[in-house]
């Protein structure tokens, strides 16, 4: 598969012709829609939410956010950021309901703290790995993006970023930048080891008990397959929260999860929290 990310910058690659070709291809529409739905499932929103769409392009995901029916927690109100004026033009033509910002996510996320309930990003953040000029490095751009994203989400909020990493090193670089910004992070892979593999970075912002969300990524990915967990803040939190009163049944999923937490407390690195521990899965980080 060709990777325009490796040779071009996004605003040049997504010109008029390419943006139109992209948006009108029914194959692309289908793939982007199914990834958006998957991301929504991972966000697990309980009601109509305010959502940031990072690298929203022509609004293929946004249309789904606007069209989410009430019995599935929608419809959502969204704001999209994109660096390609031509993509945004097509979004206008398609009369999307979300607001659009012509902006470079590598420069940050210009919203005040706690703005969004959630963020979604489909097939965009790998673009951050090519520096767009000699003045900035991919690390610098990734860190500005994730720091900004972290601040713009409310406590207990989540972000799901599907992206196409060039290789394991890039996957790691992106994930580590997110963790460094303060996120709890997990990577989920659908169809691993096939050419259709889809990588989702699931990010949580530490919440309060009041939200019914401890900010622990293991809650988010609970019951999902092929999920790895990395959370820079968990250890500190566990020390203070004194949890562990529940005695789950031996052999149950909850029990396995608990085991992992205990092992982690001992300082062993335990990354997996997939449904079946013995299952073959890909471990990243």
């Amino acid at each position: 598969m060709s990777r325009p990310e490796d040779t071009l910058v996004a605003d040049i690659h997504y010109n008029v012709t390419e943006s139109r070709k992209y948006t009108t291809s029914s194959r692309i529409q289908n793939v982007q829609a199914s990834m958006t739905l998957r991301a929504l499932e991972l966000l697990d929103l309980s009601g109509p939410s305010f959502i940031l769409d990072v690298g929203c392009g022509s609004g293929l995901s946004g249309e789904i956010l606007s069209a989410t029916p009430p019995d599935e927690g929608g419809p959502h109100v969204w704001v999209g950021m994109d660096i390609s004026a031509d993509m945004l033009d097509i979004a206008l033509e398609r009369d999307v309901e979300g607001d659009l910002l012509y902006s470079d996510i590598g420069q940050g996320v210009p919203f005040r703290a706690g703005t969004f309930d959630a963020a979604i990003s489909i097939s965009a953040i790998q673009w951050l790995c090519n520096a767009e000029s000699t003045e900035t490095s991919p690390q610098g751009r990734l860190s500005r993006f994730f720091n900004g994203l972290y601040a713009s989400l409310r406590r207990g909020g989540r972000a799901v970023c599907q992206f196409y990493p060039k290789n394991d090193q890039q996957k790691k670089m992106i994930t580590q930048a997110a963790v460094k910004a303060g996120f709890g992070a997990g990577l989920l892979e659908d169809d691993p080891e096939t050419k259709n593999v889809k990588v989702y970075l699931v990010l949580t912002v530490g919440g309060t008990a009041q939200d019914g969300n401890s900010g622990d990524i293991t809650n988010v990915v609970n019951g999902m397959e092929g999920v790895d967990v990395l959370d820079s803040r968990r250890r500190a939190r566990e020390k203070s929260s004194g949890r562990g009163d529940i005695k789950p049944q031996k052999g149950s999923k909850a029990w396995i999860m608990k085991k992992k937490e205990q092992m982690e407390k001992k300082g062993k690195v335990v990354k997996a929290s997939s449904k079946y521990t013995g299952r073959k899965r890909r471990i990243q980080f």
Partner: protein, 127 residues
């Protein structure tokens, strides 16, 4: 761009991050339009939790709208007063800035708005 979104946008310039004057951005020379959207009280109540009411009052005044009450209505107020809720819906979700600019009160940077899209691309020395 919806008035709702304006209530959350801040100046993107690095040096403005810590300045209180960089929020809210001040709309200038704007053209407004109304675009209908389905009324959704549940969504309104969710957004209400995060509104900065003082900033919204300032924006409403700057746009030449009737002055909003000093106190933010509570969720109960709105649930009991559908008219009030509908007015807020109209202001936040149906009123759009279609063109003009947003100006930072701290650094003076101007973010142009064309066809409803605000340009937040910064020259690299301001990032």
């Amino acid at each position: 761009m919806k008035i709702l979104t304006l209530n959350f946008l801040t100046c993107a310039v690095k040096a403005c991050k810590s300045s209180a004057a960089s929020y809210p951005l001040h709309p200038q020379e704007v053209e407004l339009a109304k675009d209908e959207m389905e009324y959704n009280p549940q969504a309104m109540l969710n957004f209400l939790l995060r509104l900065d009411w003082a900033a919204l009052r300032m924006t409403a005044t700057e746009l030449g709208f009737a002055t909003l009450p000093e106190e933010m209505p509570t969720a109960e107020d709105l649930q009991q007063d559908e008219l009030k809720m509908r007015q807020l819906h109209e202001l936040l979700l149906e009123t759009h800035v279609v063109s003009g600019k947003l100006v930072c009160g701290n650094c003076g940077h101007e973010y142009g708005i064309k066809e409803g899209i605000a340009n937040f691309l910064l020259p690299s020395h301001l990032v």
